[in-house]
Amino acid sequence: MESWKRSPLVFAILALPATFWLVVFFLLPLGFVWILSFGEKTSLVDVEITWTLANYWRALDTIYLEIIWKSVWISALATLLCLAVAYPIAFLISFLSPRMKLLMLMAIIMPFWINMLIRTYALIAVLRRNGYVNFIAEWLWNKANLVLSAVGLGEYHLLGEKFEPLPLIYNNFSLMVGLVYVFLPFMVLPLYATIERLDKSYLEASLDLGASQFRTFVSVTLPLTMPGVVSGVILVFIPCLGSFLIPDLLGGTNAQMIGNVITRQFKQANDWPFGSALSFLLMYVTFGALALRAFFAARGARRTEE
C-alpha cells in the first residue's frame, strides 16, 4: 500500500479517468438532483431553488412511505429468492470441469447480452394467457383427460369442463418471476467467485471429523462464503428497490413500486422537485439498509472475538 505514495504522479494519472467519470457522470448529476429536491415549481417548466423542505414533507406522507415499505419488501423477497436459486447454481458450477464451468457461466451471463426490455417482453410471451406455459399446461390437461377417459372416468370431468388458463401474469407472481429472472446473474457471479476460492479441503476436514453434510454447510461453507452472499444481496437488492420497468410490464393493478412513482414525477406529473426528493428519500433508505448491515456485521465480528 506504500508504493503509490512513492510515485504520486503516476497514481494521479491512472486515477484520472475514473475520477473524471465519477465526478461528471455520478456526483454532478446527483448534485443537481439534490439541489432540485429543494426547489419549488414556479411555472410549467421553471423551478426556483428556495431550499424549501416542502418536497420532503410531501414525500413523508404515509402513502409514499407505504409504497417505499412495500418496495423494500418486494425487493427483499426477490433478493431472498435469488439467493435461494443462485447458491446451488454457483456451488454446482464451482465443482464442474473447467470446460463445463465456462459453458455454465456463459449460460448465466448470456442473457445479459440481450436488452432487459426484450427479455421482459419475452417473459410476457411465456407467461400470458395464450403463452408457452399455458400451452404446455393445456396439452397436459388434454393428455390427462385422455387417460381419464381411457380408464372410464371421462364423463365425470374431474379436471373441469374445459381448460382454464393459469393466471400467471399481471399479478405479484409474475412480478417476482420477472425480478428474480432479471437480477439472478448479479447473485450468481459474486457467489461463484467466493465459492470458487473456497478451499474445498475445509469441507473434507469437516466431514472427516464427523460433521453431517448439513452441519458442514451451516458451520463451514456458509460462513466462508458470506462475503459473496453479502455482495450478491447488495447487488440484487438495490437495483430491485429502484426498478420500475418490471412492475410496469409484468405487475398487476397494484404493482406500484417507488420507482414507478418517481418516474411519473419526471414525466406525467411534471414535478421534478418532488421526484428528486423521493429519489433522495429512497437513497437514504438504501444507505440505511447498508448501514444496518455494517452494524450487524460489526456486532457479529465482535461476538466471534469474545
Binding site: R128, N130, Q256
Partner: protein, 359 residues
C-alpha cells in the same frame, strides 16, 4: 398516450431504443452547410405516423431534406422541449399539450400566410378552445378513446363505460389505460362530470369508483392494450381507436365502440417550437402536409382521421365510411377535446393515481 403502432407491434420502450440508434445514424449522416436557411428540417413525430413516401416527396418538391426523430408520448416530447435548444423544426403534440406548451412559451406563432393549404382544413378544426384562432398549431389527425372488445366473449356492443368501471360481469377480463388522466377521465364521464374536472371532490369520487372496480381489472396497460385484446389476455380494453383498428385488421372478432357517456376526442397537431432552427422550412413542410394528395396518402397509410376536407374527397369509402375512424355525430355527442388543466390539477390526478395503484 401511445397509439401509433407499426403493423408488427413494438413496444414504446422498444422503439425508443431503436429510435436512439436511428437518430445516431442520422446525425452522422447529416452535413449542415450554413446559408440563409439551409435545406434541412428536423421533424419530431410519433412512430408510424407519416406516409411511406411523404418525406422523400417533400425533399423532391422543395430540395429540403427531412430528418425524422420519434417520440413515444407527449410527456417525452414535453421533457425534450424543456431544453430550448432542442433543434426540432416541426413537432406533433396532442391538443392539451399544445395548450401546455403555449403556457410554457415553447411554441412559435404560425404565419398563416405561409400556409395557404390551411383552407383545406375543415372549419370546425380551425375553431378550437385549446388554441384560439389556431395561432400556434394546425390539426394533423384526430380520433377517440373507446372500448375495444372481443365479439365472441362480450355480449352485444358495449356502449357504456359501465362495463369497464362498474360491473363484474367480465371480471379479470378488463384492461384500462395506464395513466392517471385517461383512466380518471372516463370515470368522471361515467359519473356524469366533465372530462376536465378539477374539483377534488369529483376526482376523489372517480378514484373511489376505480378502486372499487380494481378487483375486476386485470391490468392498467401502458401501451399494449390492443395486444392484450388480440392475444386473448383480456376481452375488453379502454383504448385509442387507431390501436384497435390495427388489430381489427387482423382479427375480425374484435370490435370498437364508443361510450354513450362520452370521453376523449383527441387531436394531434403540427406546431413549430420557439427556437426552431428552420422556421421557413417548417412552414413549407406544414403546408405540404396539408396538400390534398399528400394528406390523403398519409391518412390512408396510417388509418387515422384526417381533418383535411380536400383530402377526404380523394379517399375511398373504406376509409371515409369507417365508423372506427369517423363515428357518427350522435356517437360523438358527449365526447370532449383534451384541455390542459393546470399544474395543480396535474398534481391532483397524479396523487389520485398513486392511491389507486397503492390501494
Amino acid at each position: 398516450m401511445k397509439r401509433r403502432k407499426p403493423l408488427v407491434p413494438t413496444s414504446r420502450r422498444g422503439f425508443l431504443a431503436g429510435t436512439g440508434l436511428a437518430a445516431m445514424c442520422l446525425t452522422f449522416g447529416s452535413k449542415y452547410a450554413f446559408s440563409e436557411e439551409e435545406k434541412a428540417l428536423t421533424f419530431y413525430n410519433w412512430d408510424t405516423y407519416i406516409g411511406p413516401d411523404t418525406l422523400s416527396d417533400f425533399e423532391e418538391a422543395t430540395g429540403i431534406s427531412v430528418k425524422m426523430d420519434l417520440f413515444g408520448d407527449n410527456d417525452e416530447l414535453f421533457a425534450k422541449l424543456r431544453n430550448a435548444k432542442n433543434g426540432y423544426d416541426v413537432i406533433v403534440p396532442s391538443s392539451d399539450f399544445v395548450e401546455r406548451m403555449v403556457a410554457a412559451d415553447m411554441l412559435m406563432p404560425l404565419d398563416h400566410d405561409k400556409i395557404p393549404n390551411m383552407a383545406n382544413i375543415q372549419k370546425r378544426f380551425l375553431e378550437v378552445d385549446f388554441d384560439p384562432g389556431r395561432k400556434y398549431s394546425l390539426p394533423y389527425m384526430w380520433g377517440t378513446i373507446g372500448i375495444g372488445y372481443n365479439k365472441e366473449e362480450v355480449e352485444g356492443t358495449p356502449d357504456s363505460w359501465e362495463i369497464l368501471l362498474a360491473s363484474d360481469k367480465y371480471a379479470d377480463r378488463i384492461a384500462l389505460l395506464g395513466d392517471a388522466q385517461h383512466v380518471l377521465q372516463i370515470a368522471l364521464k361515467y359519473l356524469g362530470y366533465s372530462l376536465h374536472s378539477t374539483d377534488p371532490k369529483q376526482i376523489k369520487e372517480a378514484e373511489d369508483l376505480i378502486i372499487a372496480q380494481k378487483k375486476n381489472i386485470k391490468v392498467f396497460a401502458d401501451d399494449n392494450g390492443q395486444d392484450l385484446l388480440a392475444s386473448g389476455e383480456v376481452a375488453l380494453v379502454q383504448e385509442w381507436n387507431g390501436d384497435i383498428l390495427q388489430v381489427m385488421a387482423e382479427d375480425e372478432n374484435l370490435g370498437y365502440s364508443l361510450a354513450k357517456e362520452g370521453g376523449l376526442l383527441w387531436e394531434d397537431c403540427l406546431a413549430i417550437p420557439k427556437n426552431a432552427p428552420h422556421p421557413d422550412n417548417a412552414h413549407k413542410f406544414i403546408n405540404f402536409l396539408n396538400e390534398p394528395e399528400v394528406n390523403a396518402a398519409i391518412a390512408e397509410a396510417i388509418q387515422f382521421g384526417t381533418p383535411n376536407e380536400a383530402a377526404l374527397k380523394l379517399l375511398p369509402d373504406s376509409y371515409t365510411k369507417n365508423p372506427v375512424i369517423f363515428p357518427s355525430e350522435e356517437a360523438l355527442k358527449n365526447y370532449e377535446s383534451a384541455k390542459y388543466l393546470g399544474e395543480e390539477a396535474t398534481k391532483l390526478y397524479d396523487e389520485a393515481w398513486t392511491r389507486i395503484k397503492a390501494a
